[in-house]
């Protein structure tokens, strides 16, 4: 596999990634009743004890749901370990160094698998992929799961993204002629200004708190929408324009945003009327009172409607002690029933094309519609999660949080701050050796930040 193949894959992946959420969201909206299609894999026989480590579903509540609902019908015993990225990487690699160990299945993000694959820690799952063909797992995601090789190194598991949610009273203050489904980022600012002018309150909201995901807003939304890239357009006129927009918008953002982790809470309390966040971190608001909230696609910038699909997959390490049990678990997790349970219990969307059993609740339906509208937009511009950064992922996100702190909170001039942070960004690529990922153009060797 040449590095060109890999880079090509990222570009392909980003473009393709977008199409899938649409399909899944549409599927999920179908009123299909009994489970259609699909093999009869999981849930039968005894798969023995399977230890699963996952960088997804880490919050305690989600881990409980995973154990008690999603894994309940599995024909074996699963010890599920949800781990933060640091320990997650350490444990997988420590087991590999030891030669063999209990961890038989890994649940992680595309970017995490690419780092494992680079060190040849993953086994080929092509047989499982063939066997599950009837489920209609999205071809594009399967392609992504090959990580640029001819082997299936992970099987797509579930997906999510980030959208906007507004309290319905905010809709009265939309700028003249604006449609909530086709907003621009400038119109969002205007919207916030209208609300502030009429109510005297700053009611836009971003998750800028300690455990908020604001860095993803810049990496997958603001930067690509304004500049068409992220790392290769980190500085420059378009980047300055984006940060100036953020500075302007911040006048209408609730100043308590620097304490917000999950936007569903301030939305429910009414502290914030319009918010951007991860679907999983918004769903409680929509579920608690579907009549009070509207979910809608993210606004567009000059370069398009940028958004970040989050794709999680399942892989089996070469050091697994129970690979057969792990394969059974993969079959179980991809069954339409399990995918439906995953959607309704932890709000991660399915990756299979088969119809899901049962109806969606109103809140999830609203999210599914917004996700679909986001990806079907003519100007949709998918941006991948960071790829291949490995342990440097935290340092990468820190660059964006530092920029936010200095430019938006401290009010410094964007161009000076960005020039000063550029070496930090480049250091991340040099240390990790990561190539650029979509929507940045391909790079030979480490990505060159500009």
């Amino acid at each position: 596999m040449g590095s060109n193949d890999r880079q090509h894959r990222w570009r392909l992946g980003a473009v393709l990634a977008s199409t899938m959420l649409v399909a899944s969201a549409c599927t999920a909206t179908d009123d299909a009743s009994p489970s259609a299609g699909g093999t009869d894999g999981g849930g039968e026989g005894d798969a023995g004890e399977v230890v699963m480590i996952s960088s997804q579903l880490v919050p305690t509540e989600e881990q409980e749901t995973m154990r008690n609902e999603i894994l309940a019908d599995f024909g074996g015993t699963v010890e599920f370990i949800g781990a933060e990225p640091g320990p997650f990487n350490d444990q997988v690699r420590a087991q590999e160094e030891a030669g063999e160990g209990e961890i038989s299945i890994i649940g992680g993000l595309d970017g995490e698998f690419s780092a494992f694959a680079a060190d040849e820690l993953l086994t080929d799952l092509s047989d499982v992929a063939d066997e599950l063909a009837d489920l209609g797992i999205n071809e594009d995601y399967l392609e992504l799961g090959k990580l640029g090789t001819d082997q299936q190194l992970y099987i797509p598991w579930m997906q999510a993204t980030y959208i906007m949610v507004a309290r319905n009273e905010a809709l009265d203050y939309l700028p003249d002629g604006a449609d909530v489904n086709t907003l621009t980022w400038d119109q969002l600012t205007e919207w916030g200004a209208n609300i502030e002018a009429e109510t005297g309150e700053r009611r836009l909201g971003f998750p800028a708190g300690e455990d908020g995901l604001l860095h993803r807003f810049f990496q997958g939304y603001a930067y690509p929408a304004f500049t068409g890239g992220v790392n290769t357009t980190f500085t420059g006129d378009a980047a300055n324009e984006m940060w100036t927009w953020m500075q302007d918008t911040w006048q209408y953002v609730n100043p308590q945003s620097t304490t917000y982790g999950f936007m569903q809470e301030p939305l429910q309390q009414g502290e914030v009327w319009v918010a951007w966040d991860h679907v999983v971190r918004l769903v409680d608001a929509l579920e608690s009172d579907p009549e009070a909230f509207t979910a809608f696609p993210v606004p567009s910038g000059p370069e398009g409607k940028a958004f970040m699909p989050v794709i999680a997959g399942l892989g089996i390490p070469t050091s697994a002690s129970n690979p057969e049990g792990a394969k059974d678990l993969i079959r179980h997790l991809l069954q339409p029933e399990t995918q439906a349970t995953t959607l309704t219990s932890v709000s991660f969307f399915p990756v299979i094309g088969s119809d899901l059993p049962g109806d969606l609740s109103a809140g999830l339906q609203a999210e599914a519609d917004a996700v679909a509208a986001q990806q079907e937009a003519d100007d949709a511009l998918p941006a991948l999660l960071p790829v291949g950064l490995g342990e440097e992922g935290g340092a990468y996100s820190q660059v964006f949080r530092d920029a936010f702190q200095q430019i938006v909170i401290d009010g410094q001039d964007p161009s000076g701050v960005l020039e000063a942070l550029l070496p930090n960004l480049q250091a991340v690529f040099e240390t990790s050796g990561a190539a650029c990922w979509a929507p940045d153009p391909e790079s030979d060797g480490p990505c060159q930040a500009q």
Partner: protein
């Protein structure tokens, strides 16, 4: 005297010495080694330079010092009055002790979350202020744009949470003051204020010293209350150490921050030992 005891005192000291060596001294040495580990594995100052160059370093240091300077006097004034109330042997003395000591049983993070529910825009404080007609619109207490207000919130939460530990030390100190001293002061017609100033405070000096040292060290480590109340809006040294260790995944710079906290704690301890010498006669 010493000769007759032989090895017994050393044997008694041994377990705690081993404990301290294994769980305190060794990790401390390791942390310093991490902090001064160069990129090639040898000795180097690159981590310390990176800490000084960290965009949050200055604000973290200043905020931490500001919190120490603001919280400790408030806590001592409160703890002293609480201790005097308990020592006055009022009716229901036991109840006062339990009520005052209640925050001791609550974790730092839980205390922070309790105070978030008070200070947040739709929280208790704003509800009360609006209910009383003092303000029309909710006031934003926890905003990074008004750092002093935010620091004020943390000071209040910290004062509530960590005053009881000082109070307990002071109550113990108060109860060890012989009654004769106060009775003698009464005989000479001392007022209450004179008794506090001339008898109680000087006799409390050893307890005050212990409490000050303990509390200052803890104040340099303030973390969870700040995370809960201020999120990313306020930087403190312990928060930076945590961020470098877990978010950025760089243990070396995290160790540099931890080392700095240790140096500040040592410095303040020495300062209190010098400023508040305890004389033999006070302990007679």
């Amino acid at each position: 005297m010493t000769a007759r005891l032989g090895w017994a005192p050393y044997a008694l000291l041994l377990p705690s010495a081993i404990f301290l060596a294994v769980f305190f001294a060794a990790p401390m040495v390791q942390a310093f080694a991490l902090a001064f580990e160069g990129p090639d594995g040898g000795f180097g100052l690159s981590n310390v330079e990176r800490m000084f160059g960290d965009s949050s370093f200055r604000s973290a240091l200043l905020t931490t010092l500001a919190l120490v300077v603001l919280v400790i006097p408030i806590q001592f004034a409160l703890a002293m009055s609480m201790a005097l109330v308990i020592n006055a042997k009022l009716k229901g003395q036991g109840m006062w002790l339990y009520v005052y000591a209640l925050p001791l049983g609550i974790s730092e993070l839980a205390a922070g979350i309790v105070w978030v529910s008070i200070f947040t825009q739709s929280g208790w404080l704003n509800s009360i202020l609006i209910g009383l007609g003092i303000t029309d619109a909710p006031i934003t207490w926890q905003s990074a744009e008004t750092p002093w207000l935010l620091i004020g919130c943390v000071v209040i939460a910290e004062a509530w949470r960590a005053t009881s530990i000082i109070m307990i030390i002071l109550v113990a100190g108060l109860q060890s003051i012989p009654r004769e001293f106060l009775e003698a002061a009464d005989v000479y017609g001392a007022t209450n204020w004179q008794k506090i100033r001339r008898v109680i405070l000087p006799m409390l000096r050893p307890s005050l010293q212990v409490a000050l040292i303990l509390r200052t060290i803890l104040a340099f480590q303030v973390f969870a209350t700040v995370i809960a109340l201020a999120g990313s809006g306020l930087d403190v040294l312990a928060g930076e150490a945590q961020r470098w260790a877990t978010d950025i995944d760089n243990d070396n710079v995290a160790a540099a921050y931890a080392g700095l906290i240790l140096l500040l704690s040592l410095f303040s301890t020495v300062l209190f030992l010098v400023l508040l010498p305890t004389r033999e006669e006070h302990q007679a």
